[in-house]
Symmetry: C2
Subunit: 297 residues, 2 copies
DNA sequence: TAAAAATACTCCATAGGTATTTTAT
DNA sequence: ATAAAATACCTATGGAGTATTTTTA
C-alpha cells in the first residue's frame, strides 16, 4: 500500500536508472527502495524495470507508467492547493444582484475591489433588480449576494445594513418648488408623482407611500415605471416629481433638480443580503469587503 | 501519509455524510476513520467537513476536493490498467515497412490479423520499400518492423525467415519462350532484361545478377525501374523479361506470362527484421503473429 | 438524553534500517 | 573482481481496534 509514496519512489528510480543513487536522493537505504518497487510491480501486475547489476532501465510499460505517475502526483498537489484557495475564498462564482439606485454608486467600486482582491472569483452582476426579485433570486440560488432595500423578513436570509441613503425629491426645473434648498413631503402633495411599478416587488414603492401617509397627505400617482432611469427621464420631461434615494443624483439629467426631503424617516437603508446558511468563503470575504467599502463611503 | 487511502476514506465519508456508516462501508471502526480524516484535513491545511454530532457536511473546499479525489483514484486505476495493456502489447504504435513483392501477398493478411488481435495498436504500413531502405529506416526508428529480402548483416538488427519465394521469369506472351512450363536462367540470356534501379538499395538486383553469373551467362540489362509494378508493366508492353519472386503473380497483367525458373538457388527468402534490442511487447506479439501467418501460408 | 464524533490507549502490520548474499559484467 | 541489486532479519512508526468521553440537537 501507500501507492503515492511508491509512485514517488518509482519516479526517482526511473530518473536515476540506479537504485543506489535513487535511494540517496530519497534519503533512504537501497534495500527498502528495491522492496517498494518490487511491491509496486507486483500490485500493478507488470515489470516496470529491466534490471541487471550493471544496468537498470524502464520497460515499455514502465515508460508509460512514468508519465501517469507524474501526472497523478501533480494532481494531488494541485487538489490540495485548490482546496486551500477555495477555503480562502480565492476561487468560486459570485452572482451579485443590485437595486437601481446602488447600481450607479456601489457596483463600480465593488467590482473594482473584487477584481483586485479576489481575481480567481468569477463575479457577475445583475443591476436594476427590484428588492423583492432579489430575495426570490437568493432563495432560488440565481444570485449569491443581494444589494437591496429593506425589509428582509426571512430567517433563511441574513441582511446587513451597508448605509442609509437620504431621500430626495426629483423635480423638473420648471416646477414651482425647483429652487428650494429643501422640501417636505407634504409640499409634494399637489404634484403628479412618478413611482415604481409593481408595488409588491419594489421596496421604494412602499417607502414612498408610507412617507406620504406619515405626512398626512395622499400622493397623486400619475406614472408607474420599471426602472429608476426611466423615472428620472420622466421628471426631466416635466411629467411629474419623484422620490428617490440620494445616489440617484448620479443620473444628472438636464432639467432635473434633486432636493433633499427634511421629513422624519426621509431615508432608506441599503442592505446586503445572502442565504443565512451559506459558508462559501468567497461570499464571506466579499461581505467583509463590502462592509469596509460602505464604511469608507 | 498514505494519501490515497485517505482519499478513499474521504470519498466514502463525503458520500455518506456520516462517519459511522462510512466506517461500516469501509469495514473498519469509526475512530480510526475520524482520525484519518482529521489527519487529511491537517495535511491539506483545510477543513473538509463541518461536523456536529447530528450532521456532517462538506465545506465548499471539501466539495471541490471531492471532485479531484475521485479523479485521482480513477487516474491511479487507469494508469495500472494502461501499463498492463502496454505490457501485453495491446497498445502502442507499429510502423511496418515492406518490399514490393510482399506488399500484395503478406500485407493484407497481416493488416487484418493485427487489426483483429491488437485493436489498440496503431499500425501503419509503408509498402514498396526497398530492402536497404528498410534497414536504414529501422536503425533510424522510422519503422519498427521490416519485411524485406536478405541479407541483413547488422548485429543491431535481428532477422527471421518468414518464407522462401520461388523466382519466376516474367515474359511477354509474344516472347518465343512464353509457352514453356519452366525455364532456366541461361535461356533468358538472349532477351532484354528489366531490373530494379539502385543496385545498392534493392536486394533483388543482386540476386538476379548472381543467378545469371551462376548460370555462366551475362544478362542484357535494358531497363531499370523503381517499382515492381512498373517492371511488370514494361514486360506486358513487350520491352523485355524480368525475374521476380512468385508473389508478384498477384500482378496478373494482360500479356504477361509467369514461368518458374528451375535453376538451383532460383528463390529468395522473405525475412522480418527489427532492432535486436527492442522489447516493445506489441512488436514481439506482432512478430509471433507474423511467424504463425507465414507458417499457415 | 441519546446519537454520534472525538479522545485515550493498545496492538500489530508494514515501512525502513543493517548486514549479508547473489549476480552480471 | 567488483559494483549493484536482492535477500534476510530486525526495529519502530503509525494505522486500526476497543473502551470511553464529549458534544449538541
Amino acid at each position: 500500500m501507500d501507492r503515492l509514496r511508491q509512485l514517488h519512489y518509482f519516479i526517482v528510480v526511473a530518473e536515476e536508472c540506479h537504485f543506489g543513487r535513487a535511494a540517496q536522493r530519497l534519503h533512504m537505504a537501497q534495500p527498502p527502495l528495491s522492496q517498494q518497487i518490487r511491491r509496486l510491480e507486483k500490485e500493478v501486475g507488470v515489470e516496470l524495470f529491466t534490471r541487471s547489476t550493471r544496468h537498470v532501465a524502464l520497460t515499455p510499460a514502465g515508460e508509460d507508467y512514468l508519465l501517469h505517475a507524474r501526472q497523478i502526483l501533480a494532481a494531488v498537489d494541485a487538489a490540495d492547493e485548490r482546496a486551500r484557495r477555495v477555503a480562502m475564498g480565492m476561487v468560486g462564482r459570485l452572482a451579485i444582484g443590485c437595486v437601481g439606485s446602488a447600481t450607479y454608486s456601489l457596483l463600480p467600486a465593488l467590482s473594482r475591489l473584487l477584481g483586485r482582491e479576489l481575481p480567481g472569483v468569477d463575479v457577475s452582476f445583475q443591476g436594476e433588480m427590484l428588492s423583492q426579485e432579489q430575495l426570490t433570486a437568493l432563495r432560488q440560488g440565481r444570485i449569491d449576494l443581494a444589494l437591496l432595500r429593506p425589509p428582509v423578513d426571512d430567517a433563511t436570509l441574513t441582511a446587513m445594513v451597508l448605509r442609509r441613503d437620504r431621500l430626495l425629491a426629483a423635480v423638473p426645473h420648471t416646477h414651482p418648488l425647483a429652487d428650494r434648498e429643501e422640501l417636505s413631503v407634504s409640499q409634494l402633495a399637489g404634484s403628479d408623482l412618478i413611482v415604481h411599478q409593481a408595488p409588491r416587488l419594489s421596496a421604494m414603492h412602499g417607502v414612498v407611500l408610507r412617507l406620504f401617509s406619515d405626512a398626512g397627505t395622499a400622493p397623486r400617482i400619475r406614472h408607474e415605471v420599471g426602472e429608476t432611469s426611466t423615472m428620472v427621464t420622466l421628471v426631466a420631461a416635466g411629467r411629474g416629481v419623484a422620490v428617490v434615494p440620494e445616489p440617484t443624483r448620479a443620473l444628472a439629467l438636464e432639467g432635473v433638480r434633486y432636493i433633499p426631503l427634511i421629513d422624519e424617516d426621509a431615508h432608506v437603508d441599503l442592505v446586503a443580503a445572502h442565504l443565512t446558511q451559506t459558508e462559501e468563503p468567497h461570499l464571506l470575504r466579499a461581505l467583509e469587503m463590502l462592509k469596509d467599502l460602505a464604511r469608507q463611503q
